[in-house]
Symmetry: C2
Subunit: 196 residues, 2 copies
């Protein structure tokens, strides 16, 4: 396992909480590399996937399937944690699929192991709390945007905000899903805006 990769993961964790070397070492034995090719599914709807991942390299998306249609609702980039978090928590089959948009390199660890860290060590429990709070805060903000802004306003916000990575790297029809509209409608919004 390359030290650069380990450092990247540790740095990501330490954006939430500082770990002693001993605390960090509690996680390391459970880490594994996972390599995905573009288009490959890491987590598949209906299955009980029990791993969390950390994106070392590449981009991913997750989507729900409704009436045979894929609805992409989130993207993952380098240095982000990825997983079907809620199905892991509740130990239920995943309702979403997580797919590699490019070739992807992950570090993975089992959710079961993370839970045992919660039991063994208050610092890891705190990490869990802070991750969940961070996640909830992000979801609340995004949901408020969906409820209080029009699709066009949401697209403008995406243009101006700190989520530029999404626009640069992701096909537009996935972005349309992310905004809650169809690809055709997003194309029209872009036309409207550029005509001004």
């Amino acid at each position: 396992m390359e030290t650069k990769d380990l450092h990247a993961l540790r740095a990501a964790i330490q954006r939430f909480i500082l770990l002693t070397d001993e605390e960090w070492e509690m996680l390391v034995p459970d880490l594994q590399y996972c390599y995905l090719s573009r288009g490959e599914h890491w987590i598949t709807e209906g299955q009980k996937e029990r791993y969390m991942g950390f994106v070392l390299e590449g981009d991913m998306r997750h989507f729900y399937t409704r009436d045979g249609e894929e609805k992409t609702t989130y993207f993952y980039f380098e240095n982000h944690l990825v997983g079907s978090y809620f199905s892991a928590i509740n130990n239920t089959p995943s309702r979403l699929t997580i797919e590699a948009l490019t070739d992807v390199r992950l570090l993975t660890f089992s959710y079961a192991h993370l839970k045992s860290l919660y039991d063994q060590c208050p610092k890891w429990e705190r990490f869990g709390r802070m991750v969940a709070e961070y996640l909830a805060a992000g979801l609340e903000e995004r949901m408020a945007g969906l409820l209080t802004m029009s699709p066009e306003e949401r697209y403008i916000e995406l243009l101006q905000g700190n989520k530029h990575k999404i626009l640069e790297r992701i096909p537009q029809h996935y972005i349309a899903n992310y905004l809650g509209i169809t690809p055709v409608s997003l194309s029209r919004i872009r036309k409207r805006l550029s005509d001004k």
Copy 2:
């Protein structure tokens, strides 16, 4: 402080985690009653409110203000925790207002005290993690609904789901906001559905 009220709060907390009497007693000294009249604001946008509440009696809503319009995005009922959680976490001014829809009786405790419980006691930290996870899971589910379903489908789901309390007790124009549409549009959806 009435023991019935204390029991209600303890039971709500213990839906997440069992507490010993000693652990429970760590919270009690910080508890205070708060009484609100119908229409009164408990937490006001722009202010740094630092209290969490537990609804003993009554209903509340929270809303964002955009262009002078109130957009109601959530409701609180008896036996639920309430607070501008994210502004408390980040120690920033609240972006939303929380209002009493009826006369309300709350038990409150400061977020600062809760944080000190996190420091003092791993069990409380775990409680914090589990609340945040519960919150995040609920937000994820609601957001998925907003992104993958039409307003009409969302209304039907609300009719059929386990959120009946919302429909029974809450004025329809607030429910429209909650669904992400205007009151006029919700009225039309109801007409469409009843015409079948």
